[in-house]
Symmetry: C2
Subunit: 96 residues, 2 copies
């Protein structure tokens, strides 16, 4: 199934910037970065639970926000993209 992961990490301090890198790095292990803090991951239920647990262990629930959207197996018609397809270094920021 396609799982969309979006996150907002509070990067006001060094710890937050570290969490951001770690969250992005973990998501890259499981899927494709499609926007700055948006990942599309093709996961089975077990992989999804593992990734979720890993991300939850990294994030700060008081400061960061993590959202999972489950788009199922028939997802091709559920996704539309318009505009630039930016290239990212896996954990890095946007490259134009």
């Amino acid at each position: 199934m396609l799982v969309l992961i979006t996150y907002d990490v509070n990067t006001e301090d060094a710890a937050g910037r570290k969490r951001l890198r770690q969250i992005a790095k973990k998501c890259v292990d499981y899927g494709q970065r499609v926007q700055n803090s948006v990942f599309e991951c093709l996961l089975d239920a077990g992989q999804c639970r593992r990734l979720q647990a890993q991300l939850l262990s990294i994030m700060d629930p008081e400061k960061d926000s993590l959202r999972f959207y489950y788009l199922g197996k028939q997802y091709e018609k559920k996704v539309e993209h318009f505009g630039a397809k930016s290239t990212y270094l896996p954990e890095d920021s946007l490259i134009l």
Copy 2:
């Protein structure tokens, strides 16, 4: 149906920062901001087409990225949120 809208806008220049504000403002007219550049909008097909056309007219397709995810009508079980930033299901009251 629930439509998730995510975007990356290139804000390296003033024009980009203006596009970002306009895109966010337009999305607020149709739905709820759940993360920095992530909106959840409850739309019928007509509203979705209108919003899409308006956003496409604002964005710069060479520089910006806009993604639509169609989560259908039975969306409650397709969305999971962890951490900060309160949210509410579009028709319900605020969940704190």
